[in-house]
């Protein structure tokens, strides 16, 4: 990845992170958009898996610092998602919006699964509802937002070859 692309990716990730802490509280949906996951997926596919895992770990720590009840759970989830996204980019990250959407959906859902299971926040029926219903809904919303973000930012991220 060239420096230009790295800077562009960093700027876009920064915008998405800022959106996570400004737009998300304003919307305050029950199944809300996770802009951090979108930023992680967006950055991970442009990095090596190890670096993506570190990026995910850093984002996870930022997220955990604001909800210290399960400090480390988000870091673990995002590390796994970042590493997996970077490792699987050759398989999934084609030039297909639907596939990208599914990729983001999967990333968000896995993150939620890890976060909920490791954080020990809910149990029993509530855990089941959270994983099946609310996490799925949040993943779908995040996937939609991610697809929208990718389609909007694609012209910016196109690599111009001479």
């Amino acid at each position: 990845m060239s420096w230009t692309n790295a800077v562009r990716t960093a700027v876009i990730c920064a915008i998405l992170i800022v959106l996570h802490y400004t737009l998300r509280p304003l919307l305050a949906w029950r199944a809300s958009i996770d802009f951090l996951i979108i930023a992680l997926m967006f950055g991970s596919v442009r990095m090596r898996p190890g670096l993506a895992a570190v990026f995910g770990f850093a984002l996870g720590l930022v997220s955990d610092s604001l909800s210290p009840g399960a400090f480390g759970a988000a870091a673990l989830g995002m590390s796994v998602v970042g590493f997996g996204a970077s490792w699987l980019k050759a398989v999934f990250f084609a030039d297909n919006l639907a596939l990208n959407g599914f990729f983001i959906f999967l990333g968000k859902w896995i993150f939620d699964l890890i976060f909920i299971l490791v954080g020990h926040r809910v149990h029993g029926w509530e855990l089941f509802m959270q994983i099946v219903v609310w996490s799925s809904l949040a993943a779908a919303v995040t996937a939609l937002a991610g697809v929208l973000a990718i389609s909007l930012l694609r012209p910016l991220m196109e690599v111009r070859t001479a």
Binding site: P25, R48, L51, S65, L66, F71, F83
Partner: protein, 415 residues
Amino acid sequence: MARATRLSSRVDFLLFIGCVIASLIALVLPAQMREPLAESLRRSLVAPLVGLQSNAERWRTAWQLSEERTARLDSAVMRGVNAVALQTENEELRKLLGLGARLRTGFVPAEAVHNAVREDVVTTLTLTAGSRAGIKVYSPVITDQGVVGLVQTADPAISIAILFSHPDFRASAMSGDGTAFGIVYPHLQQGLGVSGSGYLLELRGVPFRTTLTPGTMVYTSGLGGAFPRGIPIGVVLRELKTAEGWTRTYLLQPSVNPARVTSVMVLTPRREDQRVESVWQRVARVDSATRNVVASGDSLLRRAAADSVRRAAAARPPAESVAAAGDTANRTAAAPVRRTPPDSTRAARLVRTDSARRDSVRRDSVRRESARRDSVRRDSARRDSARRDSARRDSARRDTVRPAAVRPDTMSTLR
């Protein structure tokens, strides 16, 4: 190349494993260590994001508060509007309850539902009571103010009434004193009303020899069979010029505004046979009695005020009147007491002042008379004693000269 790739893969994997281990360590950290770590992150790296999040939360709270405030204001305005409507309805229902108490029996209360189609002049009403409640066709529909109309259709649960504004409405009517009779029709040529009222009536067929002055109350006469005698219909506004020369037609202002009617009473056939004129006349009597009581109360108050003023003037010290007596005596004598004061209190005050002046003048003259009399007495006494003294002196002299010679006048004086 393959070796470099393998190496980098191992580095990636090791980094991943390192991240996972670090995450797990963070997870199992005790709360005493976890919280300072999170706090240091919040204060350093995450501080701008914390600021952004708190600002967003504040905006959201402000927006919610504004929405709540708007909703509260809306509901307050709605309650205010409803309160006005409820007050009006309460007043109307209270009046209707009063009418019900006066009628005692033989009526069915009903709500008047206006038609969904908006009319400039309301001609029909749907009533929420029907034949099951005892309402029949041609049953009179009234309010506490007077005639509203007649039932045209009586279904089991609802009925439809035509109002006095309906072209088919007729009612036999008479003047309040019973000297003039006629038939009341709706006044269909609208726009001739007073103060924009679209609801006017005509009293037709009044004998030519009978004239009704504006303001005369017109009641149902009880002759038509539909309405019992004595229900108010309206007030005479003026005479209408018509082609017929043998009867008079008068324009009436109805007692009831049909557009505002929401609750009515329907008289049942049993009640129609009984007299109802006392129901409205009693109200008129009570009104006039109330007016009389208020008027008499006013006059009593006025009289009491005048009495108190008079008593206060009488209790004033007489020195004031004595001082003014010299001037006022002449004025009193010259000018008569003013008889036409603007009000009774002032008149009483003037009369009192004049009488006080007269009294003081009288008292002064009496004092002067008595003083004059006293001085005259004192003068005459002094003169007498002086005479006696001089007589004694003379007699003593004479005695010394001629003791036997006594003058007859001095003898009498001495005696």
